[in-house]
């Protein structure tokens, strides 16, 4: 039985050491006894003597068994390695025999696996990797919750209450980031700075590379201003020289550099300067929400408990006597810092990962059907091998080895593609993607890819392998046994084609929705014309220009010089550039009555801005030369502001203040400004968000609002805003050589504000086009195969006078029945899945009939084409030729 099994049978013949050894000893004793009998011994005595001279049977048997068993294990290992090597060599030969198929399969797999690897490297780097700080799971982000239910920044005294009254935290620190001109280094630069509360370095413990961190004595009002700089700032701006009392001018204050820390030592990771907040800030307001708060939880404290505690403390806080309680926090939110950084990206990134997986599934289905069709033509080869003694398991393994080889090669190609994508993403540095530095083909990404590769091989290889080896050897060996075109395997074909179509449809619907949404968004009227507008952002030294009026005078002169630049059209100044800078909003007072309040955004501008941006003037006038520092205080309002607060009245001549937003500035006593003009609304915050009611004030009368920076907008007469850059630069240098210049175009700013949506749309679109092509190729392959097998039948039909068109129709109709099932299934799946996309869609329903219809029509059309092509070529063959070849 053993000997028989070792010839054929399972993957590896079973070997029983005990039986083998016992048999051998028995044989020995038999032969010995036989010989003794021949010498004349009695049979019984002969047997006895044979045993005696043999020695201890048991111990011999035991020793032999042990050796035989260990030998067998070694043999088996060797045989497995041999078999793998043999399978591999055979697989390579098989692939080389059909290079066309191999190439298509490799490209398909490389794209499928590459897409997954690339998306997963982003998911892994951005969402999964822990933050690069010690014990990152302890880090949290704290915000206030307003009476509108949304989160908002934190008032300074609220932060100190939290810090002093809570027990859930090892450390809490208020932070406020700023981007400001820094002077005193090797050249004037704009740098990302952070004002930090006392315990900041306890939240982000680090050892300074030079000097020291800030300590308690630096964090008291009136302390000398000091700053800790990042390593790269130190290297680039301080020449990497040992610290020796160097000082910088930051935010108009001279500060001493006391320490250097590693880049990314604290959050935000791109901070270049850390300066104590306490000497700069003496706010006691409970309604001035200017701070963010980072915290480190005490060991073992869950986020929920910290939130409950902070929420409770916040609810006890009451407004100061002169403050509007409407602007007081009603609660607090405490979330892991990770959520604050990447929370918004989870959905879109997982959406893309899901899409990439669908693409890979389409690729698998496609390959499975190709392998099956190819396998049918290999069935003779397989039958021959089976009849030569290869078992089903053996052949299955061979076929799977071929799949695995393809998959591994495709995986390698995929890693190559993903590498290119990762490099491209890092180079283009999309603004919406945080933690970009961590996006890489890390070991965990490669493990994912390896797993995906093996899984892929099983997915597309297993079904064909099992199907093909089921063929009865005798049946397939009989030449000419071809069966009917859509024979017993019809169900498999139907399943494969249907799956492919369904998956592709889901992707097409998803990307169709995104495209529709994006087009709707692009169709929105921003309310301003961004074309041909150059944006020059400027920030002046507050040591050189100590008074707000100095800033005002500087910009007066600068605007004049810019207007004289050749090619410059209208010129204006604005505090916050639409779609780039945030919009400061808050409480304002109306009509000379401090109790009559409104909520609005507060923008400082020059009259020229409305001309540059083509914002229509609806009533009154824009700011002009009359509105100087000594003129009557004036304002302009947006249409929605006027409609909301002065419905049915003429807003021109009404009065408005800057409200709470002027609290910290030395405002002239008569703070009510007279409304001189009404302009149309603009979408300042986001292309997809309605305009916010806005009040505009002239920069000449509120220069303190621009003393940390403002932007000059210049309309290009030539239509090419960047062409003015050299002249603008030299004008600025002439005005003040110490100004770092940031230049761009408003068009680019608008485009960049749509960057995340565009990225999502293009990647999804790319994936669905890929899926569409794969599905089309898959249908083409299946129908070609079917036509090939029906060649004889088609030949007879044509010979008997059937019109070729009717034969084509018949083939296409048969194919469409397979496709139709997939379309129905895909439609159901798409409608179920796209509701999860609601948050990505702008004014488009997840069941948008246009997007769904276009997807169905596209896929249907592609399927008709993919089946018509082989059907037509099938009928073009001379029937006599096909029939003779049979």
């Amino acid at each position: 039985m053993n000997s028989r099994r070792s010839h054929r049978g399972g993957v590896f013949p079973r070997f029983d050491a005990r039986e083998d050894v016992d048999r051998e000893i028995r044989a020995h004793l038999d032969l010995r006894a036989e010989e003794l009998e021949a010498e004349g011994w009695e049979p019984a005595a002969a047997r006895e003597e044979a045993r005696r001279v043999f020695g201890d049977e048991d111990s011999v048997a035991r020793a032999c068994r042990a050796i035989a068993a260990s030998h067998q294990r070694a043999v088996r290992r060797g045989r497995v390695m041999d078999a793998i090597g043999q399978d591999l060599r055979f697989a390579v030969r098989t692939l080389f025999k059909s290079p066309g198929f191999a190439l298509v399969a490799l490209v398909t797999l490389s794209l499928g696996i590459g897409a997954n690897t690339a998306v997963f490297s982003v998911v892994s780097g951005v969402l999964l990797r822990p933050l690069p700080f010690d014990d990152p799971e302890e880090l949290v982000w704290l915000q206030e919750i307003g009476n509108h239910g949304g989160t908002m920044s934190v008032a300074w005294p609220n932060y100190t209450d939290w810090r002093d009254q809570s027990t859930s935290f090892a450390a809490l620190a208020a932070v406020n980031d700023f981007n400001a001109t820094v002077l005193g280094g090797d050249e004037p630069v704009r740098a990302d700075g952070l004002m930090v509360g006392e315990d900041y370095w306890k939240v982000f413990p680090t050892s300074p590379l030079q000097g020291r961190l800030t300590v308690a004595a630096d964090h008291v009002p009136g302390a000398p201003a000091v700053v800790v700089v990042s390593r790269s700032f130190w290297a680039n701006q301080l020449g990497g020289r040992p610290l020796d009392g160097q000082s910088l001018e930051v935010l108009g204050i001279r500060v001493q550099v006391v320490g250097v820390v590693a880049d990314g030592a604290g959050y935000p990771t791109d901070t270049q300067l850390w300066t104590p907040a306490e000497p700069l800030n003496n706010s006691t307001s409970r309604t001035s929400h200017n701070w963010s708060v980072v915290g480190r939880l005490a060991a073992g404290v869950p986020v929920g408990r910290a939130r409950d505690e902070i929420d409770l403390i916040t609810k006890r806080i009451t407004a100061l006597p002169d403050e509007d309680p409407d602007f007081l926090a009603t609660g607090a939110a405490v979330v892991p810092l990770m959520d604050e950084i990447v929370g918004d990206l989870r959905q879109p990134l997982y959406l893309l990962l899901g899409a990439a997986v669908l693409v890979l599934l389409v690729a698998c289905t496609n390959l499975a059907s190709t392998l099956l069709a190819r396998g049918a033509s290999r069935s003779r080869e397989l039958a021959v091998r089976a009849s030569l003694g290869a078992g089903r398991a053996r052949i299955t393994r061979q076929l799977l080895t071929e799949s695995l080889l393809l998959s591994v090669m495709g995986g390698a190609g995929g890693v190559g593609l993903a590498y290119l994508v990762v490099v491209a993403i890092r180079r283009s540095a999309p603004a919406f993607l945080p933690r970009l530095g961590e996006v890489a083909l890390s070991p965990s990404v490669l493990v994912f890819t390896a797993a995906a590769t093996v899984l892929t091989a099983l997915l597309f290889g297993l079904l064909p392998a099992l199907r093909l080896t089921k063929v009865e050897a005798g049946e397939a060996l009989r030449a000419g046994s071809r069966g009917n075109a859509m024979d017993g395997r019809a169900l498999v074909w139907r399943f494969l084609v249907g799956t492919e179509v369904a998956l592709a449809l889901v992707l097409l619907v998803g990307s169709g929705l995104l495209v529709r949404s994006f087009r709707t968004l692009l169709g929105e009227d921003l309310g301003f014309d961004a074309a041909d507008v150059a944006v020059v952002s400027v920030s002046l030294s507050n040591l050189k220009y100590p008074e707000p009026e100095d800033h005002g005078r500087f910009y007066d002169e600068l605007l004049g010089r810019v207007a004289a630049v050749p090619g410059a059209g209208a010129v204006g100044l604005i505090s916050d550039v639409p779609l780039r800078d945030g919009l400061a909003n808050g409480r304002l007072e109306l009509d000379g009555d401090l109790d009559k309040q409104a909520i609005g955004a507060y923008v400082v501008a020059s009259g020229g801005v409305f001309e540059v941006l083509d914002i229509p003037l609806l009533a009154g006038r824009v700011f002009d030369g009359r509105d100087g520092p000594d003129g009557e205080m004036v304002a302009m309002v947006s249409e929605s502001f006027a409609d909301r607060f002065w419905p049915g009245e003429d807003p021109v001549g009404k009065q408005v203040t800057g409200g709470g937003m002027d609290n910290f500035y030395p405002v002239r006593q008569e703070s009510f400004a007279r409304v001189v003009g009404v302009v149309a609304d603009i979408r300042h915050r986001d292309v997809g968000r309605e305009a916010y009611p806005t009040v505009y004030f002239p920069y000449t009368q509120r220069p303190y609002r621009i003393q940390y920076g403002a932007s000059v907008l210049v309309e290009s007469a030539s239509g090419e805003p960047t062409s003015m850059a050299p002249e603008l630069r030299s004008v600025l240098r002439a005005a003040d050589p110490d100004i770092p210049v940031r230049m761009g175009s408003l068009g680019a700013i608008v485009a960049s504000s749509l960057g995340e949506r565009r990225f999502l749309m293009f990647v999804m679109g790319g994936f669905s086009v890929l899926a569409l092509v794969l599905a089309t190729v898959g249908i083409f392959g299946v129908v070609s195969y079917s036509v090939g097998r029906r060649r004889r039948e088609i030949g007879i039909r044509v010979a008997l006078g059937a019109a070729p068109e009717s034969v084509v129709r018949m083939v296409v109709r048969a194919a469409m029945t397979m496709v139709a099932g997939g379309l129905v299934a895909g439609l159901v799946a798409a409608l179920a899945m796209t509701s999860a996309m609601r948050s990505f869609l702008y004014e488009i329903s997840p069941t948008d009939p246009l997007a769904v219809g276009a997807a169905v029509v596209t896929l249907f059309g592609a399927a008709v084409f993919a089946s018509w092509l082989p059907a037509r070529s099938g009928t073009r063959v001379d029937p006599m030729v096909t029939m003779r070849s049979e």
Binding site: V21, E24, A27, L31, A63, I67, A68, H71
Partner: protein, 113 residues
């Protein structure tokens, strides 16, 4: 000497087996009979002790085995020298000859004085 047969030096049995198999494939009993005959019962080898040695040689790849049928129609496990076994045998023989020669010279010289 006859009543106290020589104990085989360790490893010597392997060489005896390999040498025996050099003549052609043989089953275990055949090997044991041939050793018995050619050594004139000088060496005391329990017949059973042969088998672990054969299995070890098989494991080392010096011999290979397959079940077959004897002239008398009985089934038996046949052993055959592999090329590796041939090589092992010749190097063992060479080593043995040098050993004997050296010992012979020393012992011969000693007896002459």
């Amino acid at each position: 000497m006859p009543e106290q047969p020589l104990e085989l030096l360790k490893g010597t049995l392997d060489v005896l087996i390999l040498k025996t198999l050099q003549g052609g494939a043989m089953h275990g009993y055949g090997v044991s009979r041939r050793i018995r005959e050619t050594t004139g019962e000088v060496f005391r080898v329990e017949e059973g002790a042969l088998y672990p040695a054969l299995r070890r040689l098989e494991k080392r790849g010096l011999v290979e085995a397959a079940w077959g049928v004897t002239d008398t129609g009985r089934e038996a496990r046949f052993y055959r020298l592999t090329p590796a076994g041939e090589a092992e045998l010749s190097s063992a023989l060479e080593g043995w000859h040098r050993y004997v020669e050296a010992m012979g010279q020393v012992l011969g010289a000693a007896s002459e004085t």
